[in-house]
């Protein structure tokens, strides 16, 4: 009994204490890790860039480089990494947001740039909504309304997938299309994305059939079935645990007959045409707005906008195997490797 109680106590302790220890460790190592880069030590203005993720994460680094490019020589820049990609819990996110706030309050910046959703969710919405500190958000998916935007003191750039541009390129490539298949892993975000695609495509007279799968066998089977449609949108494979890249690459090469498109760069091995978001565009816009606001432009005069440029990719192996030719306009502007 004592032994049983001891085990229960140990179990309770582990359940309660471990997350705290884990958070403490990650806080010490990465969460809220700050790295001050003084772009211009002599500049009188101060800027803070709070990034939802960690340094080294490609999307995060893209935004960061765009901001740095624009703010060089304009202000002293303090960078804060919330590290919420590797630490996805709400508790962690809130703690990272609070820690960022403490740093910001101490630094007293003239402007705050919040990159990606969690910076808005755990920091801006909680502490700086309608405050006197101008806030520029970027990299927020689909709509900033989820975080209470618009605020009196904020503007920014929303990150949308190129749903309509992708359809335009499909139409430019293969002419009139009526029906497509949305093939993706069976995860919530993909369901959400699908709804956006469906709504947009219906307005253009195109129906989309959603196909969500959880394993490779199903994916392969549905991929073959989808060849009857006019085109296939290859969604994210995140969530398909037995994904075997070389095997599926060969499979796709053998079985592709209709145009396959994707919005994810990492899915380009399985799609002929890709349009992906551009992290630097987000950073550059945030930097431009920061410069303008520091220069006297009222932040309320700058409406929230969306990303406008995309990376275009083509998989020439798949195109050749399927005997599909794209317009020169696409081929000339597209990257051939990814």
């Amino acid at each position: 009994m004592i032994r049983h109680c001891t085990l229960i106590s140990l179990s309770l302790f582990l359940n309660l204490a471990l997350p705290v220890v884990s958070f403490a460790n990650s806080s010490a190592n990465s969460s809220g890790e700050t790295a001050e880069t003084s772009l211009d030590a002599g500049a009188s203005k101060k800027c803070v860039l709070v990034m939802s993720y960690h340094k080294g994460y490609e999307w995060n680094d893209g935004i960061e480089s765009g901001v740095i490019e624009k703010l060089a020589g304009v202000c002293q820049l303090k960078k804060i990494y919330m590290d919420t990609k590797r630490n996805t819990g709400v508790v962690f996110g809130k703690a990272a947001g609070s820690k960022a706030k403490r740093i910001i309050d101490k630094f007293k910046p003239d402007i705050l740039i919040a990159a990606d959703d969690n910076a808005s969710r755990y920091l801006v919405q909680r502490f700086y909504k309608d405050s006197s500190l101008p806030v520029i958000f970027c990299g927020v998916n689909w709509s900033a309304e989820e975080y209470g935007y618009p605020y009196q003191n904020a503007t920014g750039m929303v990150e949308v997938a190129p749903i309509s541009p992708l359809l335009k390129n499909i139409q430019r490539s293969i002419g009139v299309v009526k029906q497509g298949v949305y093939l993706s892993s069976d995860v919530i975000t993909e369901h959400t994305d699908y709804l956006r695609y469906e709504k947009e495509y219906i307005e253009h007279g195109v129906t989309l059939k959603p196909v969500f799968v959880s394993n490779t066998i199903d994916w392969k089977r549905e991929f073959v079935n989808a060849q009857k449609a006019d085109f296939i949108i290859v969604g994210n494979n995140g969530g398909i645990n037995d994904w075997d890249e070389p095997d599926i690459t060969q499979f796709v090469l053998r079985n592709s007959k209709v145009l396959t498109v994707t919005n994810y760069q990492w899915m380009m091995s399985y799609a002929m045409l890709g349009m992906t978001k551009n992290a630097r565009e987000q950073g550059l816009w945030a930097g431009d707005v920061a410069v303008a606001v520091l220069g006297g432009l009222s932040i309320t005069d700058i409406p929230v906008t969306i990303n406008k440029s995309w990376y275009l990719f083509v998989n020439t192996d798949l195109l050749n195997a399927a005997g599909i030719s794209l317009s020169n306009r696409i081929l000339n502007h597209a990257y051939k490797s990814w």
């Binding site: 689909w142 709509s143 900033a144 309304e145 935007y149 618009p150 929303v158 990150e159 949308v160 190129p162 309509s164 541009p165 335009k168 253009h204 431009d288 707005v289 410069v291 303008a292 606001v293 006297g296 432009l297 009222s298 005069d301 700058i302 409406p303 929230v304 906008t305 969306i306 406008k308 440029s309 995309w310």
Partner: protein
């Protein structure tokens, strides 16, 4: 005075020519500058015309994008407008504002918000820029704008018909269906999105079945396109024309000013051009202010500079020349005076010399006459002395003792010596008095005759005589005979005591002249006394050699009469050589 006058004239002429050439070149450069100005103005006008045409072509292309589909994405606009901005650099901004009925505003806003434009709302321009739209049911909100910056983004969603500064132009485009309006937006204050002095062209976007030329009513328009123009990009077609003031008027209002333009200036050249653009008159005025300042003055100034330089240098040369002439003239006068003085002096000296010569000649003649008379007159008493001494010796010699005979003998010897002396003196005096008759003479023959007679006086001595054959000359035969007689006689006399006496007569060439010589191997003489050789009564030897000391003086006088020279070389005991020339 003359120099100054000439110099002044030279300078004046030089300066005049320099100024003339320089002004001609200046006029030429002025014409070139004005022609260049005219060319530049034409080029700017053409550039603006072409640029406006290009803008309309670009506008057609962009309109077609919107006419072709009612669902132009941000990316479509981005791609197309970026191409246009790159191709037409004087378009700085492109704005697209579709026509939306107010009843559809909410739906449109929602659509945009769903597309990611969080909080999107259509709105008017800020108060300081805003004017109330004259359309109650329709708005033209800015939907797309390129380049897309935080500043230009402030225009998004704003009804362009409420854009006060451009409202008149926009109303004409939208309400009156005019094809295009250029408007100058003066900076009204610190307004977001509008920079100072912007120029916009607003054009209507018509429904696909309505061409621009058929546009007649407001209902045919479904959007407005606006182009921000940078006229400064069109103003200059080359560097040089930045000196030209430019003034553009649109519908009578100033559209653009470059440089300070003063109309009617005396010191300017004006040109007026007009461009008709979609019913708008754009008056372009160009002014080249102070055309002089645009002239390339280098060549005229260079000509003037070098002209003046040449004039100054030429003046120096002329001045120097004139001064040298004046100096030479002065020197000539001085020389003439000197010459005159010298001539007078010489004439005087010549007269004096002539007088002295005549006097000397007279004296000489008197002396010769006296000498001749003496010699001649002395001969008679001498003959008496000699005659009576001989008679005394012959008649009374036996009565005289030895001393008496000796004394008588001395008288006779003295008389003989005196007779020889008188003969010689007579001979010397005759040389000067004798008539001079120059003829060709064979010196060899004459000498041969002479030497024969001479060596007869030395019957016991064998002379080695060498007389060069063929010696000829021109002279007085008698006098030359006396010369040869004296010289050959002296040679025989002084060589007579030698073991093998030798006498030579020959000729040698000295500097192209014939020099005759008489040489012996006798006792010779000391060259220290050579100056006494030809002086009368001077003898270099003792009584062992007979003589009066008049012979060589006679020889010199004859040689002189022939215009020749005589000199001698000798060494004691080594014989002597007498050289002579005969003019």
């Amino acid at each position: 005075m003359k120099i100054t006058k000439t110099l002044t004239l030279t300078l004046a002429a030089g300066i005049f020519i320099s100024l003339l050439l320089s002004s001609l070149m200046f006029q030429y450069e002025l014409d070139v500058a004005e022609e260049r100005f005219s060319g530049q103005a034409n080029a700017v006008t053409e550039n603006i015309k072409n640029s406006l045409s290009n803008i309309l072509i670009a506008d057609d292309k962009l309109s077609f994008l919107f006419q072709a589909t009612d669902d132009v994405t941000d990316e479509d606009f981005l791609v197309q407008s970026r191409v246009l901005l790159a191709q037409i650099p004087y378009i700085k901004k492109i704005v697209y504002a579709p026509k939306i009925r107010k009843s559809h505003l909410e739906a449109e806003e929602k659509k945009l918000r769903n597309a990611g434009y969080t909080g999107f709302k259509f709105r008017s321009f800020p108060e300081n820029l805003s004017a109330k739209s004259r359309l109650s049911e329709i708005i033209f909100p800015v939907r797309l704008i390129q380049p897309f910056t935080p500043y230009t983004a402030t225009w998004l969603g704003r009804d362009i018909l409420t854009f006060g500064p451009a409202q008149d132009a926009l109303q004409k485009v939208v309400l009156n269906a005019e094809k295009g309006k250029i408007v100058h937006l003066k900076q009204p204050g610190n307004v977001s999105g509008v920079e100072a002095d912007e120029y916009y062209l607003f054009t209507p976007v018509t429904f696909p079945d309505i061409t621009r030329s058929h546009l007649k009513k407001s209902e045919d328009i479904f959007a407005v396109l606006g182009y921000q123009l940078d006229f400064s990009e069109l103003l200059f077609v080359e560097d040089g024309d930045k000196n030209i003031a430019k003034h553009f008027e649109l519908d009578g209002k100033t559209l653009y000013d470059y440089g300070v333009f003063r109309s009617g200036s005396l010191f300017s050249t004006d040109l007026n051009h007009t461009i008709d653009f979609e019913g708008q008159r754009i008056n372009l005025r160009y002014q080249l202010k102070s055309p002089i300042s645009h002239v390339d003055l280098r060549i005229p100034l260079l000509i003037l500079f070098f002209g003046l330089l040449i004039t100054i240098l030429g003046s120096f040369v002329v001045k120097g020349h004139l001064e040298r002439l004046a100096l030479l003239s002065e020197q000539n006068k001085l020389i003439e005076n000197k010459v005159a003085e010298k001539t007078a002096l010489l004439e005087e000296q010549s007269n004096q010399i002539n007088k002295a010569f005549d006097h000397q000649l007279a004296i000489s003649r008197e002396l010769e006459s006296f000498s001749y008379s003496i010699s001649h007159d002395l001969r008679a008493p001498l003959r008496s002395i000699s005659g009576f001494a001989n008679a005394l010796n012959e008649d009374y010699g036996n009565l005289l003792d030895e001393q008496g005979i000796d004394m008588l003998q001395r008288v006779q010897n003295g008389a003989e010596k005196m007779s020889v002396l008188i003969d010689d003196l007579l001979s010397l005096s005759r040389v000067a008095r004798q008539a001079f008759n120059r003829t060709d003479i064979s010196l060899s023959d004459l000498a041969q005759q002479q030497i024969g007679e001479i060596i007869e006086n030395y019957p016991t001595i064998v002379f080695d005589v060498e007389i060069e054959k063929g010696l000829t000359t021109r002279g007085d035969r008698n006098l030359i005979g006396i010369v040869l007689n004296n010289l050959l006689g002296n040679a025989a006399k002084y060589a007579s005591k030698s073991d093998k006496p030798k006498i030579e007569l020959g000729v040698q060439d000295q500097d192209g002249s014939k020099v005759f010589f008489v040489r012996d191997n006798g006792v010779g003489f000391d060259m220290a006394y050579k100056n006494k050789l030809f002086v009368a009564f001077q003898r270099l030897h003792g009584p062992e050699f007979e003589g009066t000391g008049i012979g060589l003086a006679t020889v010199q006088r004859i040689i002189n009469r022939h215009g020749g020279k005589i000199w001698a070389e000798s060494e004691l005991g080594e014989g002597a050589t007498f050289y002579f020339t005969l003019g």
